[in-house]
Symmetry: C2
C-alpha cells in the first residue's frame, strides 16, 4: 500500500500534500477579500491547525514568508497551483460512465478539479455515443486507438470493481502513468505507475467508526 521512494530528493509526505489544496482554497477565498499578506498563525487559526505545520507545509513550494508580515497571498497561491500542477491542463481518460463516472465528468465542468477529462469510455452500448457536457462516451475498444494520438498521462477508473484490474493494465499499456482509482480493488501494477485510491467506503468507514466511538463517550 506504499509508494516508491525518490532517489533525487526526498518526497514530500502525503499528509503535507493532502493539506496543500486546503491551504490553496483558503487562500483563494482570502485573496477575494483583498488580503495581500497573511501569516502562518492566521492561516492556522482559520484552518484549525498548528502554525508551525503551516510554515513547514508551505515551505515545500519554495515561497519564503517575511517575518512580521507573513506570506504574499498572490505569490503563495501561484506557487501552490504550480506545485500541485493545478495551473497546467492535465488531460485524463475516464473509464466507466456509471453514476460516479458521469458525476465526475459533469463536476469538472464547473468545479476546477485540476484535471480535464478529454474522453470517456464504456462497454455498455447504451452509453456509447452519449455525452456528458462536451465529453463524448466512446466504445472502450477505441481507448487504444485514441491513446496513440493523444499523449494522456492520467486515467480515471470508475468501473465496477471486477474489471478495474484489467482496465488499469489497459490504461498502463496506453501510456497512462497515473491512475485515479475509485473502485475498491487494490490494483496490482508496476511501482512506477502512480495509483491514487479514492474509495468512498474508506471515508464512510472512518466516519462511522468515529461516530460510534463518540457515542460511547459520556460527554
Amino acid at each position: 500500500m506504499n509508494s516508491s521512494k525518490s532517489n533525487i530528493k526526498k518526497q514530500v509526505s502525503e499528509p503535507t500534500l493532502r493539506r496543500l489544496p486546503v491551504y490553496l482554497y483558503f487562500l483563494e477565498k482570502v485573496r477575494e477579500d483583498g488580503i495581500i499578506n497573511i501569516s502562518a498563525p492566521t492561516i492556522g487559526k482559520n484552518l484549525k491547525c498548528d502554525s508551525t505545520q503551516v510554515v513547514k507545509d508551505l515551505a515545500v513550494t519554495g515561497i519564503k514568508g517575511k517575518p512580521r508580515v507573513g506570506y504574499n497571498t498572490y505569490e503563495l497561491i501561484h506557487a501552490l497551483e504550480d506545485y500541485l500542477g493545478f495551473n497546467r491542463t492535465n488531460e485524463a481518460f475516464l473509464v466507466g460512465t456509471g453514476n460516479l463516472g458521469s458525476a465526475l465528468m459533469a463536476y469538472q465542468e464547473n468545479q476546477s478539479l485540476g484535471i480535464k477529462i478529454i474522453a470517456a469510455f464504456d462497454t455498455n452500448e447504451k452509453k456509447i455515443g452519449t455525452h456528458v457536457g462536451n465529453i463524448h462516451v466512446l466504445e472502450y475498444k477505441k481507448l487504444f486507438h485514441l491513446a496513440e494520438r493523444l499523449n494522456v498521462k492520467i486515467g480515471i477508473i470508475t468501473t465496477p470493481n471486477e474489471v478495474a484490474q484489467d482496465v488499469a493494465e489497459d490504461l498502463m499499456n496506453c501510456g497512462v502513468k497515473a491512475i485515479w482509482n475509485f473502485t475498491a480493488t487494490i490494483l496490482d501494477l508496476p511501482g512506477k505507475i502512480i495509483v491514487q485510491n479514492t474509495s468512498l467506503s474508506t471515508s464512510v468507514a472512518v466516519m462511522l467508526r468515529r461516530l460510534n466511538d463518540s457515542e460511547k463517550i459520556t460527554n
Copy 2:
C-alpha cells in the same frame, strides 16, 4: 485539522481505519471463492502490505486468528462489518443535489456504501420535487421539520463551497452528529461533531504531485 481524543480507551489510528474497508472488500472476494481460512501473510501479499500490519489492523476487531491456520474468513468479515458499522442502517440526509450529490444518491442504490440516504435537500426550485432512485429531493427548509421526526445522525454536504458552513451548522442543530463534507470548505464546528472531509481536489493534488515527481526521476 485533528480530531478529539477518547478518554475511555485510545482511538484506533486513521491509517488503520482507512485500511479496514480494503481488507473487508478483499475478504468478501475471497469468501466468494469458497476460502474458509486465510492467513495474514496471504492477505498482505495480495494487498501489498506488511503481514504484521495486517495482524495489528485486524486485531482491532477483536477477532483472533489461529496459528498455522489464519483467520476465519466469515468471522472476520462479520467482525469488520460490525466494527465499521456497515451492517447497520446508517441513515443520512444529503444537502446539495448537484452532480456529486445526485451521483452519491444513485451510487448508493447499487454499491453498498455503508450509509443510506433517506432524504435529499436543495434550495433550487428546479430540483425540488424530483427524485433520484427513490430518494426525494425536498425543499431545504423542510430539513428542520423532517429532522424532528427522524433521528438522523449523519449529514452529507455536496453543496457549493460558499454555503457549506451554514448547512453544516443547520445539520448540527437538527441533531446530526457526523458530517461527510465534500466541499473544500473547512468547517468550523464544535469538536464533538465528527467531520469527514472528502475533497476530490485533495486526491488529485497528491496524484499530480507524485506524477510530477516521477517524471523528474530517470528510471
